[in-house]
């Protein structure tokens, strides 16, 4: 193992992708600079918020990212989550995940819910230009050198028309404002953990949602509960209103008493699930058909 050098890099990318994407930055991620141990890298990947990115490497290690194992072989790579996809941009070495290998100049695109991993080229020059100029540590120096090299290799192909720059941005597919809204809905920590979890079957996903919702109710965690509440009625500016709504929902009932000792009983189809226990029945109705099965209602009556 050559050791892991971890430096903070980009947060909120706006350029990008197929066949020659790049990643730009809006602000710096903070608090993770200077770490040079493997567990620090793992922690950084776990704590990585949607929209932020970290530069890791060069590393020979197996890490956990986006709910899957990734094997790094001398890899210097940028890791990030967008609302649509997780990605590993390889500047040097190799990154292997799910039978796919990304070598320098390519990146792994990891869709949620166990979707097939894709390998695509990225725009090295745009990524180089997007690196924060004030970062001058060894990893960034290495990254710039590698991106200079890769950009030089891509330049003739671009000039000859074999590669073409696109406006698609892996870090923000669509407009920046749309990406910001989607992040607030499907990029929050609890939702992202389920979207990129091991169990990708619909019953498994829904069970995780119901369990996560019940846990948030019992622990009184309004921020976490709000993430599970259907965002549709709240509209584009309703993020904080979902939290206020969750607070009211928590205050409405002694959820610890109601849900203590309850067991999950799947209902008809995936949309209706019930927690049955000494405290009574609680029915969770989910809205299916959207990009995530959010909780539509919680009924403390006996029906369902």
């Amino acid at each position: 193992m050559r050791g892991v050098l971890l430096l903070s890099m980009i947060a909120v990318g706006f350029a990008g992708a197929v066949p020659v994407p790049a990643i730009a930055q809006d602000r710096l991620a903070t608090g993770i600079g200077g770490t040079s141990v493997a567990d620090g890298a793992s922690r950084a990947l776990e704590d990585l918020a949607t929209g932020e990115q970290v530069l890791i490497g060069p590393a020979d290690a197996t890490a956990r990212f986006a709910g899957r194992d990734v094997r790094l072989d001398g890899a210097l790579a940028v890791f990030g989550y967008a609302s649509d996809v997780a990605y590993i941009v390889v500047l040097d070495g190799e990154a292997m995940m799910g039978g796919q290998i990304a070598r320098p100049g390519r990146m792994l695109l990891i869709p949620p819910f166990g979707g097939a991993i894709a390998v695509e080229r990225f725009d090295a020059a745009r990524l180089r230009d997007a690196l924060p100029p004030e970062r001058s540590g060894p990893a960034f120096q290495m990254a710039r050198a590698r991106l200079d090299y890769l950009a030089g290799r891509q330049a003739p192909a671009i000039a000859l028309g074999r590669l073409q720059r696109t406006s698609f941005n892996v870090a923000a597919s669509g407009s920046a404002s749309q990406e910001a809204r989607r992040r607030a809905i499907v990029g929050s920590s609890a939702i992202r953990a389920i979207r990129f979890s091991d169990d990708n079957s619909m019953p498994g996903v829904v069970r995780d949602i119901v369990t996560g919702t019940a846990t948030a109710l019992v622990t009184g965690d309004a921020e976490r509960l709000a993430q599970f509440i259907d965002p549709l009625p709240f509209g584009p500016d309703g993020t904080s209103a979902r939290t206020a709504f969750a607070e009211a929902l928590i205050a409405r009932e002694d959820w610890s008493r109601r849900l203590s000792g309850a067991v999950i009983v799947p209902g008809a189809g995936d949309a209706l699930w019930r927690l049955s226990g000494p405290g009574g029945n609680t029915t969770f109705r989910l809205r299916l058909g959207g990009e995530f099965p959010f909780i539509e209602s919680i009924d403390t009556g006996e029906q369902g």
């Binding site: 549709l232 009625p233 206020a244 009211a248 109705r285 209602s297 369902g304």
Partner: protein, 345 residues
């Protein structure tokens, strides 16, 4: 209601007559004559759009307002004019014009000495009991920014529980076309409460008004309220309440162009921009079942916060708020008689 139109020296025998009346106040005695009298009169186009998860109701109505101020005391008459209403529910749409043939609907008197409002009972009670304490808690400075913390029951909403809110208000002088104006704005971050019907509601809002610095005449006013209510295991119901008021001169032109005031741009975007107009999901449920409490609270919140922002010069805004209050619930103008049903092919 206390009619004071006779005291002001004119009879509003037809709707909006006061808007055309050349004189609206006369000194009552020789002592009164030494005090300057400030008079304003004019037309305001009031527009409201409400949505309760099923039906969208849009109402526009002309309102005539006359105000006379002397030594801090203020008199006001509000006359309701003609208007139009449109209601959409599913594929059906009802629309129609309506006229108001009555006299002056709202008469108000603000006594600067004891700082109380009299006239329309409902409005005076609300102002004296609920809005007045908010005014007292507000800074007197011409330019200020402050936070008011209150609960729905402090607005006289019976049956609501929980849900304290912290409204941020601001007041500043602005200029338009060499005219000195006062801009009052407020933001109500999301807060929650429970209605009498037992529904949990999350509610948030933005609002602003531009008034004449001297007379307090409302030249422009708008607000946007959003709410989501849910009763037990039922589907969550989205609500929207949007209102705007535009003052017109005798030639029918808007008295000010708020788009030309720099400080207005972020407010206009927040209140009337793209997000504010984005469509909300439809909850399939009979209209009669919709709890109207969030829409009624919206009207009261606007009135209370605007009163707090404008202080003692805000009678004009109170008059408009009183008009909106009188148009809530069962008193809404009904769109008659035209009905268009969107029959599917």
């Amino acid at each position: 209601m206390i009619g004071i139109s006779g005291r002001l020296g004119f009879a509003a025998s037809s709707a909006l007559a006061l808007a055309l009346s050349p004189v609206i106040a006369q000194p009552a005695s020789s002592n009164d004559a030494v005090m300057p009298v400030v008079q304003t009169r004019g037309l305001v186009l009031m527009m409201t759009q409400t949505y309760d998860g099923v039906a969208t109701r849009s109402v526009s109505q002309k309102v005539g307002l006359a105000q006379s101020e002397r030594g801090g005391d203020r008199w006001m008459v509000v006359v309701y004019g003609e208007g139009a209403a449109v209601e959409r529910e599913g594929r059906a749409m009802s629309l129609g014009r309506f006229e108001n043939r009555g006299g002056s609907e709202l008469g108000l008197l603000y006594d600067a000495g004891d700082q109380t409002l009299s006239g329309d009972d409902q409005l005076a009670r609300f102002f004296n009991l609920f809005a007045r304490p908010l005014i007292d808690r507000s800074p007197a400075a011409a330019s200020a920014r402050w936070t008011l913390r209150l609960t729905p029951d402090q607005l006289g909403i019976v049956g609501t529980a929980g849900g304290g809110l912290g409204a941020t208000l601001s007041r500043q002088n602005v200029a338009w076309d060499d005219r000195r104006l006062l801009l009052v704005a407020y933001t109500v971050p999301a807060f929650s409460y429970r209605t009498m019907d037992g529904a949990n509601v999350a509610h948030w809002a933005r609002g602003a008004a531009v008034t004449d610095l001297l007379t307090g005449e409302v030249l422009w006013n708008a607000s946007l309220h959003r709410a989501v209510g849910q009763d037990g295991g039922a589907q969550a119901r989205p609500y929207r309440y949007a209102m705007s008021a535009h003052a017109f001169d005798e030639a029918g032109r808007p008295k000010i162009d708020v788009n030309a005031i720099d400080a207005m741009r972020p407010l206009l975007e927040a209140i009337q921009g793209e997000d504010a107009r984005s469509p909300l999901p439809i909850v399939a449920r009979p209209h009669g079942g919709a709890d109207q409490a969030p829409l009624e609270l919206a009207t009261l919140l606007d009135l209370a916060l605007l009163s707090a922002g404008l202080g003692d010069t805000g009678l004009h805004a109170v008059g408009l708020g009183g008009f909106l209050l009188s148009r809530t619930g069962a008193n809404q103008p009904q769109p008659l008689p035209s009905t268009i049903s969107g029959a599917s092919r």
